[in-house]
Symmetry: D2
Subunit: 133 residues, 4 copies
């Protein structure tokens, strides 16, 4: 299980004094980028090679505990299911006390840059996903 | 049905050239703020009165069509269900051609500022939600 | 003088209860996009034609008054100077009382997409800038 | 000299394929939060104690080199000047090659939470700033 550690940055909060709900989706993508990099696939490389991009077609999150500015956040990333052209990631968000603050899910489709249509998951990405199931 | 009209701002896009998935959640909250204001409940007033805030405990979105920078976006907001302390909003996101680009849902809990516990939906907010079902 | 009207969205604020300083730069770019569109140059067109993009090489802002969530914001946009490959925009940010909340400046360089080097300001953009001086 | 290391997150980029100019201000505040924390003053503590907040009244940045998604970013933070109620921080942003991508400056005023007026820099913060000059 890959773990990404960060904290609730001031710009992730809003006037209610807590984490803005949209920021959790932003932090999850940061976790996803670190997850790929930790497995040898830098997002910079995906963009430089221009073969494909990953389009998120579904996202959902449940928040159990409010988080405040400066609080430690740990996001665990794992792969739930793998299809031909898409895959689903699961996230568990832990707060500063190590308790589950939320859970989330994103569904990614691989899109061919040239045709702008869905394409099969590239072998190196597929291997990363399989090893994270 | 309340409609909020905006466009895909440059800062809502990412290097893939399209709307960043987290930005749709940001735009939905903009739509929610305009929905309240159009019904006579300014978000500024909620924050000035300091009686309660609205905490989003669940959010989900499905994206059918990619949207690019500058493209017109219409977000329709309606209320799906109303509980004692929470309510669920539904959103339909239309693209520049008036076609459905995505759908989404947010669940809001009313939190008392003093006790930091859930509390009943205030009458003026309840009326707005009922008239939007 | 072009005026863009918006409000302090919840996601533009932070836990201090006020506008996050970085958000003013985001709002200024929204104002710039609307300024171009109001003058017949949609940002969507710039990106579709893929001839050039506008790179901001300098930005600065002074804030005199704090702004809170939901407060009305008016951003006036004007052109200060025009060079061969770059131009400078000036912004005045008015708060809900119509008083100056801040002033700002951005310097934009026209970059050729193919060569990734600076290039002359396109005629249609030049005309817009001149009429806004 | 304090150094904060991060990378150009996808959500920091825009459709031009590069770092969105407003994101550099966001990243600088992340660096500032880490700078304080590394010197024993967690931003969480400032917010929990509710004695004061730091209001940014001026910000400016110069960008020499464009940065792309996934690229390493190092932000060096130092203190330029210290006044009675305010202080100025200087930032140097290095890109993946260790070259200067940009420089920036922020001016922070200490605001008393109760009176909402400027107040003297607290001793622990003052000590941090002096040791960073």
């Amino acid at each position: 299980m890959f773990s990404y550690e960060t904290s609730v940055r001031l710009h992730f909060t809003d006037a209610a004094g807590l984490l803005f709900y949209g920021s959790i989706f932003t932090m999850m993508h940061d976790a996803f980028e670190e997850f790929l990099a930790a497995n040898g696939l830098e997002i910079a490389r995906i963009f430089k090679e221009k073969a494909y991009y990953l389009s998120i077609v579904h996202a959902e999150a449940d928040y159990r505990k409010q988080q405040s500015v400066g609080e430690k956040v740990v996001i665990n990333v794992g792969c739930e299911t793998i299809g031909d052209h898409s895959f689903t990631l699961l996230y568990t968000i832990l707060n500063g006390d190590g308790k589950t603050a939320g859970t989330a899910k994103t569904v990614h489709v691989v899109v061919d840059r040239k045709t702008q249509k869905k394409t099969v998951i590239p072998p190196n990405l597929l291997q990363i996903l399989r090893s994270s199931q």
